[in-house]
Symmetry: C2
Subunit: 250 residues, 2 copies
DNA sequence: GCGCGACTTTGATCAGGATCAAACCGGAGT
DNA sequence: ACTCCGGTTTGATCCTGATCAAAGTCGCGC
């Protein structure tokens, strides 16, 4: 049993068998480029709650999230913190061409990352355009999401913020399981109330209250503290403040 | 006089004489690559207040800001709006590989942009890595700034937001004039109170009140509505809530 | 079972900004 | 000179979300 397990893990460490190979920074690489990547990569794991990098630290590697979730966040001297991104499988950590990390990276759940030593990775970037072009595409996507998040942080009410977060997690969860979001679907919240508060620019008490309010309003149902059921996606979307793309489609 | 003027403008339209050539997306191009760019580029101008692109519009070009300032913003159905970026000279507008614009772009001041038809530009990107690598670098920088802005929007007080904005404009203004920011320096606010409010996630009344409060506190002095004098940069930085980089340096 | 600690909910009160409303300022046009 | 008008300031009040405080829930080790 132990051996079988080790074998299974070892298999996913090979690029051709990698669960994120179609979305990660290496997604456009040719087989021979992957072989080269194999040589400079190594896996690391972190337990939930462990720091991956502190802001200001020297970074000797860049990495892709393979499994689990990490958070990217900033803290002011007086302790106020703002999460500025959630890193999901296939997301990229670090920045070629930069010495030190601009933000804290912390494992939210148990986390596995595929690391590349920075120097060889940078050399490989200039040699193989497939990596740079994929990284550009990913970075542009992240910039768009960051800007959408700015609207949420600057202009949405607490209730809209919570509804937006739930809607996003619902969509992501559905796409992970490879089916479209559907009324009655359910999922587990990957974040504590405090982490949600840090992400949404609220306090944990307000998060808790607004979740209770959405439950009272019948927009969501709770099964324990963490499991959420969405009886009607339309009702949830109505609470986000976003324009209703669904209406436009049908 | 008229002819002389036209000559001066014509000169700046040539790449080798371009005021943003060392910072824009074309900064790393070789002379022959610039010659190729010359062929697919054209200038456009907009008056202050004019829209450049509406969110959702089909974009037939990408562009670099040459002179003036543009804003990038989002609006909710009920009219709440959030500015998600300020585009200054050398900043890039648009996104290769994307059909429609994700955000509104509006000229804040009179604006000149250097446009490239999207199709030829995209073709050139795959042919010449200098463009893609520079665009990647610029996009990574913008992502970092967007994330810093998320901390401001999510966690800073109104007073800290105003002080942060003034400090940023002061730094940018100094670097534009090629000298380091200095106590007693002054600059013109390029934004109306309303535009500042949209950028900072506040109302225009709060912006006005906090500017008055900073004046009353001696942190800034006003000369008319738009001109700001900074008697002490240290005092201003103390109000931003950011850690004081200056202290670390000396 | 018990107690402990991490996480969550709920309550009471406070305050920072939003909202509503009115007045003010300064430049452009007549 | 005058009005007009966009931009700005200031005042009064309201309300959302923060803060302070206490109790509730759940899983876990003993």
């Amino acid at each position: 049993m132990k051996m079988k397990m080790d074998k299974a893990i070892a298999d996913t460490k090979e690029c051709w068998n990698c669960p994120i190979k179609h979305r990660a920074v290496c997604a456009r690489c040719e087989p021979e480029e992957l072989t080269h990547l194999e040589e400079i990569k190594y896996y690391r794991t972190y337990e939930a709650g462990q720091p991956v990098i502190w802001a200001g630290d020297h970074m000797e590697f860049v990495a892709s999230v393979v499994t689990g979730i990490a958070s990217l966040s900033q803290t002011m001297e007086d302790g106020r913190t703002q999460m500025v991104g959630l890193l999901l499988p296939s997301d990229f950590i670090g920045r070629p061409g930069r010495e030190s990390a601009p933000f804290d990276v912390v494992a939210v759940s148990d986390l596995t990352v595929c690391c590349f030593r920075k120097k060889p990775f940078e050399e490989m970037m200039v040699a193989t355009p497939h990596i740079g072009s994929r990284l550009l595409e990913m970075t542009l996507d992240e910039l768009d999401s960051a800007r959408e998040w700015m609207l949420l942080l600057g202009r949405k009410t607490a209730r809209e913020k919570i509804a937006s977060l739930l809607a996003i997690i619902a969509r992501r969860d559905a796409s992970l399981k490879r089916h479209t979001p559907k009324d009655g679907m359910s999922f587990d919240l990957p974040l504590t109330r405090e982490a949600m508060a840090d992400y949404l620019g609220l306090t944990l008490e307000t998060v808790s209250r607004q979740i209770s309010a959405l439950k009272k309003g019948g927009v969501i149902e709770l099964d324990g503290k963490r499991r959420v059921v969405i009886p009607s996606l339309e009702a949830l979307n109505d609470e986000t403040g976003d324009d209703h793309e669904d209406d436009l489609i049908h």
